[in-house]
């Protein structure tokens, strides 16, 4: 135990003095809120901006009643000149509405009148406004049809057949949490990023600066050395992860998320549950990093191996995107997968089976211990010491 503590103290002291490595490690959590705030503001802006929208129209004089509908919906009409296709393709305008010259004539003859909406289907950012314009035209059509029926003494009710009525089972928090998919990724990634420098310096670095041999001639078990190094790297990774979580949550609370018609609240209980859920993640990350760091031939080698690990936290979210399966208990037993799920569910104010906490904690923690033990064994092998 004394050996583990001696190694832990030394590695932390050594690691915290490496200012440059520390700075680059903690740049990641510090950028988290900036990134989230920026991205989310953009999303909110795109979803809510409808006021004083400019709508380029060709031939607005042909359909004054329709134009009034647009204006009432908040559009500012603007006469458009030139080739609408070219302008939309160049992205100088988002869309163009073209009213045909024979609008009034076809209307009078009760023929089908086509109002052209020229837009670029590959653009994500104009999807909302295009949908809005189409809906307005469609509504206008319904109104017109109803008026025509009334003029002939027929009740417009006759047109009502079946209509879909949607009932969304997702809670407001859940829908907000959907937007928050990247928070678990970001928080879990922090656990893999912040301790990385220390873990590599601890293993591959120790060999590269030829201090591994002097260390191994001490009368201590090599497992004890590894556990000390593991705890040091875990402490740093854990600190980074908690900072990231705190900043991400702060950014979320600062965002005007209610403008999306969504609700995001956070109670102290939720924060506590989150912390408990993610606590073993830095230990897991550090244990894998130490193992790979020892395996690597050089410092650079170690950096590229360990770098790949950073993508582990992305996997659960990706899997759930493409294979949307309902969460069941076994998932909580899978390290990282379980935690990823729990973060999302806690933020979405969903109820998690109580068993999930011990399940995720025990398997993740036990896996880390096992990896450390293997690493300790590895340190007894001459091949690893010599290379």
């Amino acid at each position: 135990m004394n050996v583990v503590r001696a190694v832990l103290i030394k590695e932390l002291k050594d690691g915290l003095r490496d200012r440059r490595a520390l700075l680059s490690a903690f740049l990641f959590p510090l950028f988290a809120p900036v990134f989230i705030y920026g991205l989310m503001t953009l999303v909110i802006k795109q979803n809510t901006e409808s006021e004083d929208l400019v709508l380029p129209v060709i031939g607005q004089d042909y359909a004054p009643a329709l134009m009034r509908q647009f204006e009432e919906a908040g559009f500012t009409l603007e006469a458009f000149d030139g080739s609408p296709e070219a302008a939309v393709r160049d992205k100088t305008v988002e869309l163009v509405v073209q009213v045909p010259e024979d609008y009034q004539e076809t209307m009078a003859n009760f023929e089908l009148t086509r109002v052209l909406v020229i837009h670029d289907g590959s653009r994500n950012d104009t999807r909302t406004i295009v949908r809005k314009v189409r809906n307005l035209i469609s509504n206008y059509n319904n109104e017109l049809a109803a008026l025509r029926l009334i003029a002939r003494g027929v009740s417009p009710k006759i047109m009502q057949g079946v209509r879909a009525k949607s009932s969304d089972v997702a809670s407001d928090e859940q829908r907000a949490a959907n937007l928050l998919n990247f928070i678990p990724i970001y928080v879990l990634m922090a656990a893999f990023v912040c301790g990385l420098g220390l873990a590599i310096d601890n293993t591959a670095g120790e060999r590269e600066r030829r201090s591994l041999e002097p260390l191994l001639i001490n009368p201590v078990t090599r497992t004890a050395l590894i556990f000390g190094k593991w705890l040091a790297a875990s402490a740093l990774a854990g600190a980074g992860m908690i900072i990231t979580l705190a900043l991400c949550l702060a950014a979320m609370l600062a965002l005007p998320i209610d403008e999306l018609g969504l609700n995001f609240t956070l109670t102290a209980g939720q924060v506590l549950m989150l912390l408990i859920a993610i606590l073993p993640v830095p230990m897991f990350a550090s244990s894998l990093q130490l193992l790979l760091g020892l395996f690597a031939k050089s410092f650079k080698d170690a950096q590229s191996y360990v770098g790949i690990l950073i993508f582990i936290p992305v996997v659960p979210t990706l899997v759930m995107q493409f294979l949307p399966i309902a969460s069941s208990l076994w998932m909580y037993f899978v390290p990282i997968f379980g935690q990823s799920l729990m973060i999302k569910e806690i933020l979405g104010a969903e109820t998690i089976p109580l068993l999930a906490y011990p399940a995720a904690f025990i398997t993740t923690f036990a896996t880390s211990l096992l990896v450390c033990w293997i690493t300790g064994r590895l340190l007894n092998q001459e091949r690893v010491i010599q290379s």
């Binding site: 004394n2 050594d14 030829r210 201090s211 001490n218 009368p219």
Partner: protein
Amino acid sequence: MIEVSGLKKTFGDVVAIEDVSFTAADARVTGLLGHNGAGKSTSLRVLYGLIKPETGYAKIDGIDVSQDRITAQSKLGVLPDGHGLYTRLTTREHLQYFGRLHGLSDDQIETRSEELIRMLDMQGIKDRRTEGFSQGERMKVCLARALIHNPRHVVLDEPTNGLDVMTTRKVRELIAELKTLGLCVLFSSHLMYEVAKLCDDIVIIAEGRVVAVGSPEEIRAAAGVDNLEDAFVLLSEQAASA
């Protein structure tokens, strides 16, 4: 007492040591002499518990290093082949770390550190980080951390390699001092005159085998030449052609 018997070690197809046996007695300085690649470092690595021999054994005060590495290592002070230091730690912090790994209390470490700092003339660098230390300063820190637990056996792998005259002298003085304290000192070198000057007993290794053992006089007699250096070259060449 250090006792090495019938060591053999191969790395892949390369036979590093074939048959190495020798003893190093207490209160004597034993020199392990050999060309680069003769098998000195491999023999010492077996001795300080870093690698395991295929045959034979190494014993420290009767304790087999392969059987009970930790007890054997606690009796040894080692300057290994690798001289790496932690650049962000000071001299004292190095001694503290290694002292703790040896299970010493902080008081013991404090007292012993002061002693070693005095012995090795490290007043000026005791609280400086080792980043940018000269070769000699680094070697002193390495020696001090090897001796922090006051070991009865000291194994030094090429302790004067690459040092300037002043530090080399200091190291030689240290070796002589350790001997007068009654310690068992074993060091390796490829420098004939150094070994001749410092050692009571000499072990010559060539091609992974011990080719001669004895006092400087005995070695000269065995080779049939007057000069120790000639004896060393002759014995090494005989081993190479055999």
